[in-house]
């Protein structure tokens, strides 16, 4: 990877981690509050993130915007024939999201904030990924 790309991805990640922290969406409390429908905060954050992502992605597609190196931008569609994996896998993910109060990004952002215990769910997340691969052929997709 070129040094310029390295720095740009690093900066993009830094901004992402910083804003996740400032928005408090990495908080176990905010996740409980969201699933209990007791605050609009998380819905506002996620809803506006999708709105901005949607508008910019559709503009990039429709205007045939190239990436900074001049390569055409292609998105990767999700296979629409695998609905079972989305609903069942998604439910497993949701159980973990509410239980731990963090999805993958926030686990690492919280680790950066000094919460060293997040090493444990990160290792457990790797174990979960390994387990999925091990039994993938037996699971409905």
């Amino acid at each position: 990877m070129k040094a310029k790309d390295f720095i740009l991805y690093l900066l993009a990640g830094t901004l992402f981690g910083f804003v996740l922290m400032k928005a408090e969406v990495v908080s176990w409390f905010r996740i409980q509050e969201m699933f209990r429908f007791e605050a609009f905060h998380m819905y506002g954050v996620i809803g506006l993130a999708i709105a901005v992502g949607l508008i910019s992605l559709q503009l990039i597609k429709r205007l045939n915007v190239k990436d900074k190196d001049g390569n055409p931008i292609k998105t990767s569609p999700k296979d629409p024939t695998q609905m079972k994996r989305y609903i069942i896998g998604g439910t497993f993910f949701g159980l973990g999201w509410a239980l731990l109060g963090a999805c993958p990004g926030p686990m690492f952002v919280l680790l950066g904030s000094g919460l060293t215990i997040m090493i444990i769910p990160i290792l457990a997340g790797m174990a979960g990924t390994w387990a999925y691969a091990a039994i993938k052929h037996k699971l409905p997709h």
Partner: protein, 187 residues
């Protein structure tokens, strides 16, 4: 200026900035924003599995993702340590009293010390939250083919029906946990 960096950002500022991640990584190198694939890269990098699922060039395919992750850790350090908000999160009092009713007593930080201290690894509840919780996130993200970033933000931005179904799954699981299972675990 320091105060601006330490205080929490409202949803209408934070949401759009998070959403900008989608065009930013597309414009840098045509990448679709997602975070959970890093778990797969890490397992692949450990070299502990012979499964073909981990047999790919993680250094090449995963480089951008891992660098983004390192950035996120730095961002967490800046936002949560260097410019940490000294005040507790302003939660709905109804949430606080409900959680107190389930035995949560520490509301000073981003996570309750009752569950997220190293000593909680010595308790069944701590192990369920930290180990089982992390495991389900890693398992479910790969099973569903993405997490909150890959499906809810990127996938919905790309109008993918599969991502909509996955997000519905996220909420089925999350609501079951928050309303039915968590009270049993903590009770």
């Amino acid at each position: 200026m320091f105060e601006l960096l330490t205080q929490p950002w409202p949803w209408y500022i934070a949401g759009p900035v998070i959403g900008l991640t989608v065009p930013i990584v597309l414009l840098i190198g045509g990448k679709m924003f997602g975070f959970s694939s890093n778990f797969r890269h890490f397992v692949s990098a450990c070299g502990v599995s012979k499964n073909e699922f981990f047999n790919y060039n993680w250094r090449k395919d995963g480089a951008w993702n891992i660098i983004f992750l390192v950035g996120a850790v730095i961002g967490g350090f800046l936002g949560g340590y260097v410019f940490a908000n000294p005040n507790p999160i302003e939660l709905n009092p109804a949430t606080i009293s409900a959680l107190q009713g389930m035995g949560i007593s520490d509301f000073s930080g981003f996570v309750p010390d009752d569950l997220f201290a190293w000593s909680s690894l010595g308790t069944p509840v701590g192990i369920i939250v930290l180990v089982l919780g992390g495991f389900l996130v890693g398992f479910g993200a790969r099973y569903a083919g993405g997490c909150t970033s890959g499906h809810a933000i990127s996938g919905l931005s790309d109008l993918q029906i599969g991502s909509l179904v996955a997000v519905i799954g996220f909420f089925i699981g999350g609501l079951l946990m928050a309303h039915l299972i968590y009270p049993i675990i903590l009770g």
